[in-house]
């Protein structure tokens, strides 16, 4: 059982990484837009470091979440049908996708990190390793969330709309754009309850772009990012394990 699970995770992971490599234009699009965001916001506010991690989080979010969008069409016609009709456990599908999403996020983040030198805050090897770990953790959590929502969506358009409706507002109140000191009290409460605040805190505490960050510390950032990731992953696995009965089909 463990053997076939491992082999299936490998098959899904390799497949997603090959897609990532062969569809570079899509990836460039995902990286370029947050990069543009960072350059424009940083230059506009005259503080490049302030918006670095927020933009990086946005990049990781887009890549991880939208890497799962193919699930919607793939399970009706395409590779996922092979997975679903094979003896591999369905959770291997989730694991393979999440692993690939996490690695892609890590790679993209690491490509983004050298730009930090432009802010005058270069990183050492330890910082880079810690950042890679934080990026992979955030990527895994976002991919789990994306998979869960994609499996529930009937069309890519619906998924896109839902993710924009949920994720963009959460990103806006994560501390990526403004911090708690200038926010109204009710927004401060929202920021504290927002899981993405802790995703950002994990990056802020491992990537030294914004020394003035006054949000949650590394421990609470790591713990809440991991808890959210586990919850999203569990929801995704439970969803995918359910075999449909009647009209509620794949």
């Amino acid at each position: 059982m463990l053997r076939i699970y491992t082999l299936a995770v490998r098959a899904v992971f390799v497949r997603d990484m090959l897609h990532f490599w062969r569809e570079r234009s899509r990836v460039i699009g995902f990286v370029a837009s947050p990069l543009l965001f960072w350059v424009l916001l940083g230059a506009g506010f005259g503080d490049m470091g302030r918006f670095f991690n927020g933009s990086l989080l946005l990049s990781v979010m887009f890549t991880a979440v939208f890497s799962t969008m193919s699930v919607i069409d793939d399970r009706r016609e395409g590779f996922l049908l092979s997975v679903l009709s094979s003896p591999s456990p369905r959770c291997a599908l989730v694991s393979g996708k999440v692993l690939a999403g996490a690695v892609m996020s890590g790679i993209q983040g690491l490509l983004f990190l050298p730009l930090l030198a432009m802010t005058g805050r270069p990183m050492g090897v330890t910082d880079i390793l810690a950042s890679a770990g934080a990026l992979v953790l955030c990527g895994a959590s976002f991919t789990s969330l994306g998979f869960w929502m994609a499996w529930k969506s009937r069309t890519p358009q619906g998924f896109h709309a839902m993710m924009n409706l949920v994720l963009m507002p959460l990103w806006l109140v994560s501390g990526a754009l403004f911090d708690t000191s200038t926010a109204q009290p009710w927004i401060r409460l929202v920021m504290q309850a927002n899981p993405m605040t802790y995703f950002l805190a994990t990056l802020q505490r491992t990537i030294p772009a914004d020394p003035a960050w006054a949000g949650p510390g590394l421990a609470s950032g790591l713990i809440w990012t991991a808890i959210c990731g586990i919850l999203f992953l569990t929801a995704a696995v439970m969803n995918v394990e359910r075999r449909p009965l009647g009209k509620d089909s794949l």
């Binding site: 053997r3 076939i4 082999l7 299936a8 490998r10 098959a11 390799v14 497949r15 090959l18 897609h19 062969r22 569809e23 009706r76 016609e77 395409g78 590779f79 996922l80 049908l81 092979s82 997975v83 679903l84 009709s85 094979s86 003896p87 591999s88 456990p89 075999r243 449909p244 009965l245 009647g246 009209k247 089909s249 794949l250």
Partner: protein
């Protein structure tokens, strides 16, 4: 039925109010090439999804290789290879990468997997295209890769759902040549669904289904023998032509789609007699040996063509 490798008993499956399967019962023997013929929307795809465990049956039972589809998902999926109507290839992966990924999903790895992939590439004549992404292949070649992928783990049952959909006649012939070669060289049981009568002719045993029920089952030859002699079709300018034909020749004409069909032992003589008896009333006449379409019409009163609405209903559900 003893020796049955695929069985269904009283399968009933609803999409809302509509029954896609309505008490379907059949059994396919091990080693058969078993065809399931019916119009779009008759329940074939729902049956297929149940047999490959993508959907649970709501009522009734089904089993493959002695394993209940509702209880033995994982074990059962080791026994089957599946070719889906819309394909399950990854278009951005090469032929070889698709086969390797499928082997891994079936629990294969290492040298055994590579050797099996090489064997299949050779057997299906795919070596030259093995490094090409499958999106660059023709529809016929893609189907070959689908079949190779489905049998990589040497399943006991190969399930094909409308596998020739979208293929031109020569690609369809090629696909069936591959399947016949496979059947001749391995003990695999092939179960396929189709709405095309010429494709159904490939079956050793054929089940006709309509509105989710089995309506006839036998070899294609015996099924066609149910329709006596020849089938003669007339077109006539006279609205009362069918009645006059019945009265004059004591036959049972059937009107459908602007045609009047008659089963008769000696069609050529019947046509000549009809022209003599009704001068000027017949605008065209044709004669053919009975086809599976005629059999389907005889037992259901319906044609194999689409039933609008129901086909859409099933597509939504399936």
């Amino acid at each position: 039925m003893s020796g049955a490798i695929v069985e269904a008993a009283g399968l009933r499956h609803l999409y809302g109010e509509r029954a896609a399967l309505d008490g379907l019962t059949f059994a396919a023997a091990e080693g058969d090439v078993y065809g399931i013929l019916g119009p779009n929307g008759c329940g074939k795809s729902t049956l297929f999804r149940i047999l490959c465990t993508l959907e649970r049956p709501q009522q009734g039972t089904a089993s493959v290789a002695g394993l209940d589809v509702a209880k033995s998902g994982m074990k059962l999926r080791r026994q089957i290879g599946v070719v889906f109507q819309n394909g399950s290839l990854d278009k951005r992966l090469t032929v070889r990468e698709n086969l390797v990924a499928q082997g891994q999903l079936q629990g294969m790895s290492g040298r055994a997997l590579i050797a099996r992939v090489d064997e299949l590439l050779g057997e299906f004549g795919l070596e030259e295209r093995s490094r090409d992404e499958t999106r660059t292949l023709s529809g016929g070649l893609r189907r070959k890769v689908e079949i190779a992928k489905a049998i990589i783990h040497k399943p006991r049952v190969l399930l094909l759902d409308e596998a020739s959909t979208g293929l031109d006649p020569s690609a369809r012939r090629e696909m069936w040549a591959s399947l016949k070669h496979l059947r001749a060289t391995s003990p695999v049981t092939i179960l396929f669904t189709t709405h095309l009568m010429d494709e159904a002719e490939n079956a050793g045993r054929l089940l006709l289904i309509s509105r989710g029920r089995a309506v006839a089952e036998d070899s294609p030859q015996r099924l066609k023998a149910m329709v006596g002699g020849d089938v003669v079709q007339f077109e006539s300018s006279s609205p009362s032509f069918a009645g006059e034909l019945r009265e004059r020749f004591q036959v049972e004409p059937v009107e459908s789609g602007g045609h009047i069909s008659v089963e008769t032992a000696a069609g050529h003589r019947f046509i000549a007699n009809a022209f003599d008896a009704f001068p000027g009333q017949i605008t065209s006449a044709s004669l053919h040996r009975p086809t599976l379409e005629d059999v389907f019409f005889k037992v259901t009163g319906e044609h194999l063509g689409d039933r609008p609405g129901e086909a859409a209903g099933e597509a939504e559900g399936a």
